[in-house]
Assembly symmetry: C2
Homo-oligomer: 317 residues x 2
């Protein structure tokens, strides 16, 4: 989620050791189950319960703050592929993108595919990108549902979903498949910026109350390739992204983003024809909580046995 300064080589090795140590502890405790693919894990009962509790806590705060004004939505892990186009995700983050590939051939090609497979060839080429993609951010499927004129005060959406980003990593904090809960604001530029800023502060408060060592920092997304450098520079110069970080691997290493606040200007408003009361393209902002990352940060901070966590932390969850 964040581009941090690259540590020097000795530091990098020490950081990789920290990743391996935490990963081993989580696997030993049965919180994560190795699947053989980096960043894709099964979840044990206690880990699932903490994820559910974190999600419920976030939901309670959203409800306290916005009450019935926030529309509660959930989306499945897949969405129409054209959303990757309209959000420009495939243009800005092709390396993280994923489509759903399916088989549209007949009997004859199927026999060929299986014969090839028996001869040791990869059969993946027989499947091709369908009209579906994996959801990269929980809020992306929301914008098409808002097309048209917004109410006078704009809209708030509380949205949950599984996200996928193709970034295999040995760092257990960086999963390829993970859940995100976001509180989205669509309306004027002022409303969007105020939403992001108040929710960044609120997220830092929620996480601090869970006994995590929290900080905030401006951040940029990992845009792809040469042209991406300019996009990242613009995002940074305009202060569009702020991350809430937790110190997971010790003071000498950068914190890990567990929540992220983004102001999109009128990007989604333009792309999805969402208009403010005055007829101009709506601005939007969101604050996303990384559910697994928060759960992992809690186990890293308070130990692998939830029963031994501080009472004040368990009382909040």
């Amino acid at each position: 989620m964040t581009m941090t300064a690259v540590p020097r080589s000795a530091d990098l090795n020490a950081l990789l050791d920290e990743h391996a140590r935490l990963r081993a502890e989580l696997l030993d405790a049965g919180h994560l189950i190795d699947t053989g693919v980096e960043g894709v894990y099964g979840h044990g009962a206690d880990f699932s319960a903490v994820c559910r509790a974190v999600d419920a806590l976030v939901g309670r705060v959203i409800h306290e703050v916005h009450g019935g004004a926030a529309t509660v939505l959930a989306f499945p892990p897949v969405m129409p592929r054209e959303i990757l186009d309209r959000t420009d995700y495939i243009a800005s983050f092709p390396h993280l993108s994923a489509t759903v590939a399916t088989y549209e051939g007949g009997d004859a090609e199927h026999r060929l595919m299986l014969a090839g497979r028996d001869a040791g060839h990869d059969w993946g080429g027989h499947l091709r990108s369908s009209d579906l993609a994996l959801v990269p951010s929980a809020c992306h499927p929301v914008y098409p549902t808002l097309s048209g004129a917004l109410p006078r005060d704009g809209a708030w959406v509380d949205v949950s979903g599984h996200c996928f980003r193709h970034e295999p990593s040995s760092d257990p904090m960086r999963m390829q498949s993970f859940r995100m809960r976001e509180i989205v604001r669509v309306g004027t530029d002022r409303a969007a910026i105020a939403h992001r800023d108040s929710w960044v502060a609120r997220a830092a408060g929620i996480l601090g109350d869970l006994g995590l060592r929290v900080s905030q920092a401006p951040a940029v997304d990992p845009f792809f390739g040469r042209s991406g450098r300019m996009l990242a520079a613009n995002q940074s110069a305009d202060g569009l992204k702020t991350e809430v970080l937790v110190n997971v691997y010790g003071e000498r290493f950068p914190g890990v983003a567990v929540a992220s606040g983004n102001y999109h200007r009128d990007h989604f408003g333009m792309q999805f024809d969402i208009t403010s009361a005055d007829g101009s393209p709506a601005h939007s902002a969101c604050l996303g909580f990384g559910i697994e990352r928060i759960a992992l940060a809690l186990f890293a901070a308070h130990g692998m046995d939830r029963a031994s966590w501080p009472g004040a932390v368990n009382a909040r969850l």
Copy 2:
């Protein structure tokens, strides 16, 4: 999930009308949100709440029956692609299978992809099947975790996950992306068959207690192509699959499967090197609950406004 006798044409039209009617009611009530792709829906707050309640009810029954003997696991919506091979899913159900396609090219190909896109060409071919696939059945990622010798009594696993099957349909009961909760038994042939049969009966009981009109029937999976006919005939002759069906569209139409019990013989035991205490390949069986299907059946039976459902039903959820 089931191959039912194909109704005659007038009946088929009447059934399609029923699909359209239920779908419109669910969309109007905000329980489902149209995404533009058949079988892929967003979920409204009440629908999500019913899904959660159904899942929790199933979890309570599993806990009552098996207590601490059942290992509770959850898996993300993606799994190593090689599991599609080892389960034979890609051989038997290529038309339902899906891999995760990702972009592995560099800057130059990316520029080409975007130029093609701007000229109106499909960019999907620039992404290729990765080492990940979408999970077709919640229990499939479980078997690799059981490789090796089982305890003397075998194993029980309570597993949850999002599943994907590429079968776009205008029937709201047939989603492409949906959640499944399964109770899996691995051990002797006798233990596996007894598990399937007792859980089919228990599932029918749970659903009947929710005011649904339930039946049970032997069933076969929708195997692909010509060779699939023989596989289906064998599955049917050996009575491997039993479905729990709910009458959703009226008495003149077949029921819709909302839970399914399957005995796999030693198929997964062989493929994943799971051995019983006596050293022979383990047998397995599972009972899967289709969470969205059960929730949809409840709205279809009791009405779109949950507050007006029978008190006895709401009390159980």
